[in-house]
């Protein structure tokens, strides 16, 4: 069980208010992802939920029980840290067993649970090693193992994959998603990686300067960003935002169009520009187009086979049904 409710939670460090009053509910079994630019308060929010920081005001409820004043261990949550925070002088087995030992479980029960977790995470062969003798991915799994043996109400992850290389990250991403499928427990996951947020989340919480900009499923956020910040933040490459006459023509202050919703052609289209940089990914090609008079640079996505050179003329045609309109305050116009 793990329904987490933040009710008017605020957090200040000295005079600086990092989290203004904030309202958020994470349902039981949900995979919630916090995203936002660096310094927006993602870690702080997670640490508030974990109990590693005290709330300045407001209250945090877990399964209907006010836990704002409870010590971290009493909240029944487990956290996986960015640095893994394994205990370097203990073997993998002792690391995973540590929370159980602290909880005073019987030795046989501890052994059973550790062996179980090790089997789930493919760590059985490494149980007698120390963290220093493991690879990054293995350390990550030990950290997760230490979290799952406690059978917590919810898992908290603070950028757990940011120290891993790209290939391993993809692997671990899948493993964590699988783990969520299997355990069905609530997970809160902090990242500033787009792809992690989009692929893993049931619910994405977009934060900016401690304020929740939008909460929703990945596709909701992709299809209907509530404001220009969310529009620019979700989706990769970023959505093109265009001000001026082209927007006024559509009764908006700003319009947004994603790179994948623009068709390219070498002879005709609505907008004309020159190709600056092209990025060939094999499956797709991204062109950075300048000189359209709409924005400094527009990004468009084309098929991997489409080929333009630097300086070539290019014609762009947006798909009208995919144009997002925003008013002067940056809010979405329905």
């Amino acid at each position: 069980m793990g329904r987490i409710v933040l009710d008017n939670v605020t957090k200040s460090f000295g005079n600086a208010q990092v989290i203004p009053p904030l309202q958020l509910t994470i349902e039981d079994g949900e995979f919630a992802v916090f995203v936002g630019p660096s310094g927006c308060g993602k870690s702080t929010l997670l640490r508030l939920i974990a109990g590693l920081e005290d709330v300045t005001s407001g209250k945090i409820e877990i399964d209907g029980k006010d836990v704002s004043g409870l010590a971290p261990a009493k909240r029944g949550l487990a956290m996986v840290f960015q640095s893994y925070a394994l205990y370097p002088h203990m073997t993998v087995r002792k690391n995973i067993a540590f929370p159980l030992k602290m909880a005073g479980l019987a030795r046989a029960e501890i052994k059973k649970r550790v062996d179980n977790a090790a089997a789930v995470l493919n760590l059985t062969d490494y149980l007698d090693r120390r963290p220093g003798q493991l690879s990054g991915g293995q350390r990550q799994r030990v950290a997760i193992g230490r979290a799952i043996v406690r059978e917590p109400a919810a898992f908290l992850f603070d950028e757990p994959l940011s120290n891993l290389d790209a290939a391993l990250r993809v692997g671990m991403r899948l493993e964590i998603s699988e783990l969520h499928e299997r355990l069905k427990s609530t997970m809160i996951y902090v990242t500033h990686d787009q792809v992690e947020a989009m692929t893993m989340a049931d619910k994405i919480v977009v934060l900016q300067a401690g304020v929740i900009e939008q909460v929703g499923s990945p596709l909701e956020l992709y299809r209907a960003p509530r404001n220009t910040f969310v529009a620019g933040f979700i989706g990769s490459p970023k959505m093109n935002l265009i001000d001026g006459p082209e927007a006024t023509k559509r009764d908006a202050h700003t319009i947004g169009i994603r790179p994948e919703h623009i068709a390219v052609s070498s002879d005709s289209g609505s907008w004309k520009g020159k190709v600056n940089v092209s990025e060939h990914l094999g499956s797709d090609t991204f062109f950075h187009v300048q000189g359209t008079g709409l924005a400094d640079s527009l990004t468009v996505r084309a098929d991997g086979e489409v080929s333009f050179r630097h300086g070539d003329d290019i014609y762009l045609t947006p798909r009208e049904e995919h144009i997002h309109r925003f008013d002067a305050k940056g809010l979405r116009i329905a």
Binding site: A50, L52, A71, P72, A73, L77, A78, M79, F81, Q82, S83, A85, L86, Y87, P88, H89, M90, F98, P99, M102, A103, R130, G132, R146, R150
Partner: protein, 288 residues
Amino acid sequence: MATQHSRSAARMMMAPAVVLLLGWMLVPLCMTLYFSFKKYLPLRGGDLGWVGFDNYVRFVSSSSFWPSVYATLIIVGGVLAITVVLGVLLAILLDQPMWGQGIVRMLVIAPFFVMPTVSSLVWKNMFMDPNYGLLAYLWRFFGAEPVQWMSQASLPSIVMIVSWQWLPFATLILLTAIQSLDSEQLEASEMDGAPVISRFWHIILPHLSRAITVVILIQTIFLLSIFAEIFVTTGGAFGTKTLSYLIFQRVLESQNVGLGSAGGVYAIILANIVAIFLMRIVGKNLDN
């Protein structure tokens, strides 16, 4: 980097320092060895020729030898125990954020800068004097008979004085070690449900183990040769004669250079045994 050329250049440049160090250590060592095989009494006939291992046998069979070994071990062991335990506690205390942290840290380190002779005299006369020492006042205040520190509790007194001098060193090293502990590790153990005491035993103390061995190693080497503290307090009386003090007495008070040198060679052997022993512990600790 390490080409043939740069390596020989490096050797050339290190040579003066190495030669100086070797001279510094080898000359006295050789002279000690040389004299230890001679009967040499500067005021009673001077050099009286070679005597083989006579001095070595006499030094060990003298009635003050074993008591001096005992006194040395008690002082070294006592000071190590006190400085390490209090050092860990002080380091944890100083690591907490508090008002006036800089000044408090300065004050804690201060005793280290007081010369051993001075601090021993201060302790002896201002604190431990049975008539007008501060501790005597304290004892009388509670209606107790003041302790004759230097005679009734001579070894504990010296252990106390030396510990006071070396506590700052231990605290300083342990404090830097504590500060290098990853705070996420402590937070993780907090999440894992470890109460304060368990966090100390399972996280902080293992993290400090390396620093503790370094403290023990360095202090042992220095403590084996403490001298001023004994000279100005008990003058070697009341069972406080350590090995180094015994050597001093043999050479300067009995004017027997040969016998003293033999003692010096024993001291070198003892120090090396301790050093090898401790190096292995540290080595094992540094391995992982």
